[in-house]
């Protein structure tokens, strides 16, 4: 039932899933091809066919934009999931990786989304006024396109990682800290910025 996917298949599935959740309708094969810089929609067709065969997607025959998501069943079935603690997020610093063998943190299932999730430990106080302190663990779910107001892990200039709230405004993106001593970061259009994921939960140990 839960057939394993290849890397590419998983990437396509993630893209389709996000697209549908964002727009409410499925992407066309051409749109998928454009996103992955494919020269031919035939490649997309093959990937979609694989995903349908493996039970990850459904679609209608010869129907435009007819890809549908299949309900993920592994979530309810799994009692709890050990997510890897990938590293630390500190404002203005790249994510420090904690060695080759990351620890895992057991996370309640309701915090694990359909897509890839992981855990980061917080360092610094850029979100202090929202009660996110140094040492806390944030559960992050991968997502390229966040909604306005969501808390995100953003990579600026390809190197610096930061935990901020995301606001897309006219002509730029604003990354807003929750710390009155810190200024928001304005990302002008065209500046390379990568959203690593959105924060969906917080865990603190005493």
């Amino acid at each position: 039932m839960a057939e394993p996917l290849t890397k590419r298949q998983k990437e396509v599935l993630d893209y389709v899933t996000q697209f549908i959740e964002l727009h409410g309708y499925a992407p066309s094969y051409r749109e998928i091809a454009a996103h992955f810089n494919y020269g031919s929609v035939a490649t997309v067709a093959e990937h979609i066919e694989s995903l349908v065969t493996k039970g990850m997607l459904q679609k209608g025959d010869n129907e435009a934009r007819s890809i549908q998501l299949v309900k993920a069943d592994h979530i309810d079935a799994t009692p709890s999931i050990g997510l890897p603690i990938l590293g630390l997020v500190a404002a203005g610093q790249p994510i420090e990786t904690l060695g080759v063998h990351p620890e895992t943190l057991e996370v309640p299932p309701f915090m694990v989304g359909r897509r890839n999730s992981y855990v980061l430990q917080v360092k610094g106080d850029s979100m202090i006024e929202e009660g996110i302190h140094t040492g806390d663990y944030v559960v992050v779910q991968e997502k390229d396109v966040p909604s306005n107001g969501e808390m995100v892990i953003a990579l600026i200039n390809g190197g610096e990682a930061t935990l901020k709230r995301y606001y897309k405004e006219k002509g730029h993106i604003r990354l807003q800290p929750s710390n009155s001593a810190m200024e928001p970061i304005i990302i002008k259009q065209g500046t390379p910025i990568q959203i690593q994921g959105v924060v969906i939960g917080l865990i603190r140990k005493y």
Copy 2:
């Protein structure tokens, strides 16, 4: 059934497990080889074969990235535990009980102590400066005699419940909020006070 693994096999299994949980797809043999600095994928193939034989993994024949994890039932079952959400703690108010059939919150195993534990939802801002906000869930472990400095759920006068830090000082007990707008509560010796438990964890959903 639970065949013993060698040291190396366990390392490989751990890496594969984390890789799959993080990425959503299995690593290729060459990726595994690179991680362990192997010069040959044949070594990886042997380890994977051993793990499959011992029932720790499954895989398809001649299929790319087809390693699958087996149900973790008998392996290392550390399921998360559903603790009851007993009610709300708001400063100066008794714990409001949420009906007879309390909801449960899945809590990571490391937050469940040996003794009875339960969950309370926070209302109010008596601990705001420690990043505990309205709506957060605190995991409470029953404990009559807290250590100094621990965060406790205290029942004063048999009725009012409050979330504070506990300090036993000469002649009295001080219950300290983390909110500079609020005064500490001084409990003189002899005054009836009951410690419901200490806070061992915090969980927040976004």
